[in-house]
């Protein structure tokens, strides 16, 4: 086979004529395209995740083996890039959302209602960040609501109102100033429902819905 390959190439070479400059040009072009494709796909799978590494339920994305010593190379790269120290999925589960339940990007220019069913866990928390992972300054120094402090209804469900201006019930301020993109992180420590390997399971219908109320 290599012989055939060589002969094919050399015959093609001749067909191309003596314009070897053109061949070099093709080669550089191929290499550049490969570089963009290779790095781009790696970046995407590390930054955004893929079905291999992340589970997606509505707006919530979760890296399944984050922090696990036996994690796949994509998860390991994602973790190293993030600079975080997450617990493995047997101790805690992390869910991140940067869109509402309909898929529009979360923005501080809009108002949202985060409606959650009771979570069967020792402790959970919904925290708000800007797109760079930083907390957002607000006069009441309120950055999150957790299972101990969120006002809940008799059935254990809760509603967190995410908006610029003060709202009743649980108000999570999205900060004044120019519109920014937002990220919500749901942390669930000590989930009581686990699969056989002890990984905390949160039934998909238990993850909070993020409903856009209005914009502007």
């Amino acid at each position: 086979m290599p012989l055939t390959g060589t002969s094919t190439r050399s015959s093609l070479w001749r067909e191309e004529g003596s314009t070897s400059m053109r061949a070099i040009g093709y080669f550089i072009g191929t290499f550049a395209a490969a570089l963009i494709l290779g790095i781009g796909s790696a970046w995407y799978m590390i930054e955004r995740g893929s079905p291999l590494t992340t589970s997606t339920v509505g707006p919530w994305k979760s890296w399944l083996s984050e922090g696990n010593p036996n994690a796949d190379p994509y998860t390991r790269a994602h973790l190293a890039r993030s600079g975080r120290l997450p617990l493995t999925s047997t101790a805690a589960r992390y869910f991140a959302a940067n869109t509402d339940s309909r898929g529009s990007t979360l923005s501080s220019g809009c108002e949202y209602s985060i409606v959650g069913a009771p979570l069967n866990a020792r402790w959970w928390s919904v925290a708000l960040y800007d797109e760079y992972g930083s907390l957002i300054a607000n006069p009441s120094n309120r950055y999150s609501f957790n299972s101990e402090e969120a006002l809940r209804r008799a059935d254990g469900s809760f509603r967190i109102n995410l908006s610029r201006n003060a709202r009743p019930e649980n108000w999570l301020p999205s900060g004044a100033g120019t519109n920014r993109n937002l990220v919500l992180i749901l942390r669930v420590y000590g989930s009581r429902d686990t699969d056989i390997s002890g990984i905390g399971q949160i039934p998909p219908d238990r993850l909070p819905k993020i409903e856009r109320v209005r914009c502007g």
């Binding site: 055939t4 390959g5 094919t8 190439r9 191309e16 093709y26 080669f27 072009g29 191929t30 290499f31 395209a33 490969a34 570089l35 494709l37 290779g38 790095i39 796909s41 790696a42 970046w43 799978m45 590390i46 922090g67 696990n68 010593p69 994690a71 190379p73 994509y74 390991r76 790269a77 973790l79 190293a80 890039r81 993030s82 600079g83 975080r84 120290l85 997450p86 617990l87 493995t88 047997t90 101790a91 020792r122 402790w123 928390s125 925290a127 960040y129 760079y132 992972g133 930083s134 907390l135 300054a137 309120r142 950055y143 999150s144 957790n146 101990e148 402090e149 992180i185 420590y189 000590g190």
Partner: protein, 187 residues
């Protein structure tokens, strides 16, 4: 076998892209300059328990830190022998995670699973012997757990989730009472 020239370049491009993809994914963890270890090393020496300042807008040691969890860490270095970690678990929410510099969580102590609130741990590599250290008072060693660390330098991170925003001073006081230091092998 007749292969068209564009086809050949496309095949070559795909193989190259695949190779570059694999190399990029595998080398990235070692190239990330701002990993957790580097961030924590800037805060103080090894083998000492250090409390992380609570994250505030625009200022946090690690990205996406929980605003309602108080943290303390010990960057341990086992090159001079095992390291001791002691903590009085203030409530069942506490979690102690052990990490490699790349952020692999190889061991965790879950507060709710502990029978008593006193946590006494000796962190050692697989080839370090921790035995016979407490010969003079063996009963005091009954509750000591040896954590086998796959790395010589790693991180122990204590999480104290808050039971409410007014409870942070309490959690910080409890974290301050935790200890991390060189384990004395005088025995």
């Amino acid at each position: 076998m007749r292969v068209s020239l564009p086809g050949l370049y496309i095949a070559l491009g795909i193989v190259l892209a695949g190779l570059i993809h694999v190399v990029a994914v595998l080398t990235l963890p070692t190239l990330a300059p701002r990993d957790a270890q580097a961030r924590l090393a800037a805060l103080g020496p090894a083998n000492t328990m250090i409390q992380l300042p609570p994250p505030t807008p625009g200022r946090q040691v690690m990205p996406l830190m929980a605003p309602d969890v108080r943290y303390a860490f010990c960057r341990y270095d086992l090159s001079d022998g095992p390291v001791r970690l002691r903590a009085h678990i203030a409530d069942e929410h506490w979690l102690i995670g052990f990490y490699t510099p790349l952020g692999e969580n190889f061991y965790a102590v879950v507060g709710a699973d502990m029978k008593q609130p006193e946590v006494d741990l000796i962190i050692a590599t697989a080839d370090q012997t921790v035995a016979e250290v407490g010969v003079d008072s063996p009963e005091a060693f009954d509750n000591v757990v040896v954590v086998s660390s796959p790395v010589v330098e790693g991180i122990a991170l204590i999480r104290a989730p808050l039971a409410g925003s007014s409870r942070s001073a309490e959690a910080e006081r409890a974290l301050k009472a935790t200890y991390c230091g060189q384990h004395k092998t005088s025995g």
